[in-house]
Amino acid sequence: MNGLQISYFEASARKRLSELVDAGSLVEFCPPEMRQTSPHLAMLDAPLAFDDGVVTGRASLSGHKVLVAAQEGRFNGGAVGEVHGAKIRGLLDRALSERPTAVLLLIDSGGVRLHEANAGLIAISEIMRAVLRVQAAGIPVFALVGGSCGAFGGMGIVTRLCTEVVMSEQGRLGLSGPEVIETVKGVEEFDSRDRALVWRITGGKLRRALGEATLLVDDLIPAFRTAAVSLIERYRAHPPVPADLDELLGVQAELTERSARFAAARDGREIWANTFAEASRVPEMTVAEFNIQLGEAA
């Protein structure tokens, strides 16, 4: 049918995965029919999902073996509970024995699931350590961020631990959600209902300009697929090596410089002004135009 191409932002986790990897290649681990659901949600009389909001499996992507996890942002905001977190951690453990070409994490999460917050917090710290173990074994872990919940809380940290981060401009990445900041610090600090402002603080074009997202793509599943394939090809030739002292001292210097340069910044426009001749036009630019201008600036 002559509609739009399939939006990554709007698709469910299962749809994203099925369109991202080679057709029919997904084999799911701990699939919904195992009904590994959250007893904690049940205890609080909240609705359950048969996969606890995350799909984990193996697939091929342009012929390469990958392990994949996709969080369902529409189920409890993609939040991490005990089972949900254990599935992602188990997938990363599996990578150590199965040695795929890459692990893809389709992150769409507000962070810890409040209904089982303690379990979620520990689970995320386990995922963080597992991501590092997988990378230390020479297997890249790619984060794809383009869903309605973005990547926040602990999953925002996990995203930044990944080898590469692919974002769409609709994707958002941060630590504390704007609503939390507004609730605690007041609307003057952060007006969470000003969606354009929220986007300028957390959105894909800001994260790409800061270099935190390594690729910015259109909000289309095939665009994410193309990006993932290109990363796989690149890392197949040069597997990741764990960060050494010099590299981390370099990052330290870079972040110190960022903090100093933008010591008073409170809006993405101030970051863009550093790179783009017409910073005010950045929000209106197409992804292609944005990438060209960013490339020229670099």
Binding site: M1, G3, L4, A196, E284
Partner: protein, 553 residues
């Protein structure tokens, strides 16, 4: 023959009274320009007790500064007023009633103030003359409800008092015409006073005073629907409307109500309808505000002409750049006109489609709910057969044949369609045995239950279950079962006679999606030509400038 006795009867009382009012105001103005800090004194000088006053406003622009100023006047001097105006939508409109300055109101729509108004009516603080349609109220301006003083809103004035109302011209010409030519006083609030206007929408000699408002008049972006909020069910109903109705009847000239259901139809035109080969065959001529969701259809070449009741915030540059489609002046900006567009919607369109809150078993529909006196604005004019119509079109003729059979005098009928999901949010059924309007009429002492569209005008109902064609029903029983037959799992729907409903389906009176060759699983949001406001901006080539609350970038 004796000479006429001119002393016995004077024929220029209105003019002399007008002159007296202007004389009282003379010291307050320099030429026609009144400083904003003098506005309260001006109102007190020109308005007299018992006057019919119109404070311009619609569901779009509002003469808000003048309304705010009116409630600062001395209630002992300005009292017993009769408000004759399109809407009572600002808090100040109701404040004026609460201050005891108003004794009677005739209006069309009260939207956000509906609950406050209902309380005032119940406590007998105010008498409602009638709740009109817009066109009906405008008509009465020229018969028995002519304003004595009109307080209007314009974008700009020049120093002579010529007004530029631009894209948001809306009700202004109708109000000013009635007031100025019947000895009344016209006061305009403007956003700016300039040396040269882009064009003159209202000539200076129809305007008595101009005041520059401290803040620009408020305009509500009422016709913007964020495509992100359109549901799969609305996509499905949109597909049903296009394939089962628009294509079937060849609907070219039409009006859409506001809402996500109709926004879905607009966004399906360049995709679903184009795939069905319907470009150029349906939806070419519109009586419609510049809906942002119509942009993709316009860009796809679906649309030939759009005349508008009002404008829409953020659509100014787009409409100006598409002057082949929209009605624009020599200066390049659009001009709307609610009265003409209402007439166009009533007489020159073959179809009206809109949504509602309740439909009863006769097909009467209403958005009225208990405790709220809201009115319906223009919908009843759109959603009524134009019995005076004398020009034919294939769609109109076919509807007439279906409704009257072949034996009667050949005559067409307008297609009046309601599109609703069987349950609204919170599982409120859209189909009811009895409209809430009856209870409202009883508690508010209204002579008529507030019905938006009468059952006798309603020709089709679309729900997620399919289409009921009420034109083809031959008895009240058939009509009732046709309605029950698309009422889903509401109590009304569950009480259907399954055999009769199947019979109606065999006769094509009820058509299910599968009867029309529509696969429900095709109903996904990926079929929409825009999935977000940003998509609309891109579709417009950057010409559409959405208001802040619709921006997430």
């Amino acid at each position: 023959m004796n000479a006429p006795d001119t002393s016995a009867k004077r024929w220029d009382n209105l003019a002399r009274n007008r002159a007296a009012r202007l004389a009282r105001a003379e010291r307050l103005a320099s030429g026609c320009i009144v400083p904003s800090e003098q506005i309260v004194q001006l109102l007190e000088a020109v308005i007299e007790p018992g006057d019919r006053v119109c404070i311009e406003g619609n569901n779009q622009k509002q003469a808000d500064f003048l309304a705010r100023s009116l409630i600062k006047t001395d209630p002992s001097r300005l009292r017993d007023l009769h408000l004759v105006q399109s809407v009572l939508a600002l808090p100040e409109h109701i404040d004026l009633i609460e201050r005891g300055q108003v004794s009677r109101i005739d209006f069309s729509f009260s939207g956000p103030q509906a609950a406050r108004l209902a309380r005032l009516v119940e406590s007998r603080k105010i008498t409602i003359g009638a709740i009109h349609t817009y066109l009906e109220l405008f008509a009465r301006y020229f018969v028995d409800l002519t304003p004595r003083v009109a307080l209007i809103a314009a974008q700009a004035a020049d120093r002579e008092g010529n007004l530029y109302t631009g894209p948001n011209t809306e009700d202004t010409p109708a109000i000013v015409e009635a007031t100025a030519f019947k000895g009344g006083i016209v006061i305009a609030q403007v956003n700016e006073i300039v040396d040269k206007l882009p064009r003159v929408d209202i000539p200076a000699d129809w305007v008595d005073f101009v005041v520059r408002a401290p803040t620009p008049h408020y305009i509500e972006p009422l016709f913007t629907r964020d495509p992100a909020q359109i549901t799969e069910i609305q996509v499905l109903m949109g597909m049903i409307a296009i394939k089962g109705l628009y294509a079937e009847y060849g609907i070219k000239r039409l009006n859409h109500g506001i809402g996500f259901d109709t926004a879905a139809i607009e966004l399906l035109l360049p995709t679903y309808a184009a795939d069905l080969g319907l470009k150029g065959k349906i939806c070419t001529h519109w009586a419609l505000n510049p809906h942002p969701t119509l942009i993709p259809a316009i860009e796809a070449g679906f649309v030939e002409s759009v005349h508008s009741f009002g404008s829409e915030v953020g659509m100014e540059r787009y409409t100006a750049a598409r002057s082949d489609i929209f009605f624009t002046g020599a200066d390049g900006s659009m001009r709307s006109n609610r009265a003409f567009c209402q007439a166009a919607g009533h007489y020159a369109c073959d179809l009206f489609i809109g949504s509602t809150l309740q439909i009863d078993l006769q097909g009467n529909s209403s958005t009225a709910t208990k405790g709220r006196i809201a009115g319906f604005g223009g919908a009843p004019n759109m959603g009524a057969d134009a019995r005076g119509r004398r020009h034919a079109s294939p769609a109109w003729l076919r509807a007439g044949r279906e409704g009257r059979g072949d034996i009667a005098m050949p005559r067409g009928q307008k297609l009046v369609v309601q599109i609703v999901e069987t349950f609204r949010e919170h599982m409120e059924p859209a189909f009811v045995e009895r409209l809430d309007a009856w209870d409202l009429a009883a508690t508010a002492n209204m002579e008529l239950p507030p019905v938006m569209i009468y059952g006798e005008d309603m020709t089709h109902i679309i729900t997620e279950e399919g289409i009921a064609n009420l034109l083809l029903c031959r008895t009240p029983q058939e009509r009732e079962q046709a309605i029950r037959g698309v009422a889903g799992y509401t109590p009304v729907g569950m009480a259907r006679d399954p055999r009769m409903v199947e019979n109606l389906r065999d006769r094509g009176i009820i058509r299910r999606p599968e009867d029309m060759g529509i696969r429900k699983s095709d109903a996904t949001r990926d079929l929409l030509a825009a999935r977000s406001v940003k998509d609309l901006v891109y579709a417009s080539g950057g010409l559409y400038d959405p208001p802040r609350q619709f921006r997430n970038w």
